[in-house]
Subunit: 304 residues, 2 copies
């Protein structure tokens, strides 16, 4: 099944208690594509970069079955750059630099071959860009998943609500769910948010796992307790890529299968945070994914 | 199987965003006994109160199979009193008043009939009192579980470490595990803490569930997403009571059964927080516990 993703393709400079990584490749669409590529090999990436982006990284994506026909390359301009420093507990971070560069006036234009994709992953980006992607689809995709963050709730709430109305699954973290709904209880927050449009809501809680809400059903996915979280950057994007990649592969949108997709998203995210940037998500193989999936399964196995 | 518990029997005044409750019955041993009473009816309570404690509350415990032979009643003195105010997110609270009263010079004296109990639950109290209880046992219990809090790590770390050395299961929350071990990663923290003595470690994470560590095994128990957390007071004590009560009933100390015990502790704790104080834990019945256990089971059920 074909999977279209929009999101940033960017450079990140990251400081964590374990070290520094300078101008490494990152961006939501990069993580999403890598994660999804372990499930499907018909991925269409829509984004924008400058002419400073390493060709080898683009070729590595192409080799994973990712089409870059929708990746705009702006001559003489620079790619999006983000720099941040994580605090010692890894749960919070300071943004040091945000250089929008090519992203400032990004107008997503879908090639014809992208417009009938059955699965659409709208990575974290301005809600206006996410909406423009939906509007270019020639038929309603089987599934539209949207990831966003508190920043857009602060500066573009109306546009965000407009695009949320058009989607099937929203993925946000617990604080964002509380902010978007105005409810502290996540059960109540889920009800308010689902009334905004999406049938499914995934609340990501980092080291505490994730919750999947649908109707009156709830599923609690664990997170793998790790020796070290080396770099949390991209964990949410990796989760999203694994989640929609698994759904696109299986073609099954039942609640039972959504639960498995949440587990696979969590499995891949637990890999990403073990190394800097996309280093770990680039080097996985099926055996490692299967072994880690087994650890997740063991983690919650109880005859109860 | 007989279960001995030591802990406070007290009055609490509680303020939450949902209201105030003035001088209601509380205390670790009260919650532990009520929770455990749904599994076993041979419970021996060791604590101290003043002559201000309502006889009806004591009789209610007796009717649940709780022996109060080891409950000292100090004529002319007052019971332990704690008063606190929860913040709007319910995750943090301010202590307003702590009147030790009878607790100030509590010397736990076990009646002869208590000294061969097979299961011992050392509720949160000074480590010295917890140690004195262990020292009076005439034979090594099958299982000793200890609950404690950061306060004792701050003011009585050596005594705490001495008693931790003698026990089988330690239950603390995630911040306390980090404080006690000096490790941020809970996997590393668990290793450090288990090297201090206990074979099993339960890390309680409130709304995020609980982790059970044993050797290289980990179990991730969910928490039930609730409409409202009305009053978190006693949730940890209720968890401990349900946990050891289930183990005492089943008599099975395997890791597989410990997992079930963590689930039952979580089930009962999820009840306690739905009403003020011990109101909810007093009125449960088997049908309600079974129905809620089913919800916990559904919450993590995935064919993965």
């Amino acid at each position: 099944m074909s999977l279209l993703t929009v999101g940033t393709v960017a450079f990140d400079s990251i400081e964590t208690p374990y070290g520094k990584a300078d101008r490494i490749v990152g961006g939501a669409a990069t993580y999403i594509s890598w994660a999804a590529s372990y499930f499907v090999n018909d991925i269409k990436l829509c984004s924008v970069i400058g002419d400073d982006f390493p060709e080898a990284e683009l070729n590595a994506l192409r080799e994973r079955g990712v089409s870059l026909d929708g990746l705009q390359v702006k001559a003489g301009e620079k790619s999006f750059f983000w720099s941040g420093r994580y605090h010692s507990n890894m749960n919070s971070r300071d943004t040091l630099v945000t250089d929008l560069n090519v992203l400032a006036d990004f107008d997503p234009v879908l090639p014809e071959s992208y417009k009938d994709a059955e699965y659409v992953m709208l990575g974290n980006l301005t809600p206006e860009v996410q909406m423009k992607v939906i509007q270019q689809m020639t038929k309603r995709p089987k599934l539209i998943v949207l990831d966003t963050m508190n920043f857009w709730m602060d500066v573009a709430l109306d546009s965000l609500k407009a695009v949320i109305k058009e989607i099937d699954v929203l993925t946000i973290n617990d604080e964002e769910a509380r902010q978007l709904s105005g409810e502290y209880s996540l059960v109540k927050a889920a009800r308010v948010i689902r009334a905004m449009g999406p049938k499914y809501l995934v609340i990501k809680k980092g080291e505490h796992g994730a919750l999947l809400f649908h109707g009156e059903n709830v599923f609690f996915a664990p997170a793998l307790p790790l020796e070290e979280v080396f770099d949390p950057t991209g964990a949410g994007d990796t989760f999203a890529g694994g989640f929609i990649g698994y759904l696109a592969k299986s073609g099954d949108l039942s609640f039972e299968n959504m639960k498995r997709a949440v587990m696979y998203g969590s499995v891949l995210a637990s890999c990403t945070v073990e190394k800097f940037g996309i280093e770990k998500i680039k080097e996985l193989d099926q055996a490692e994914i299967t072994a880690r999936a087994k650890r997740f399964s063991e983690l919650i196995r109880v005859d109860f």
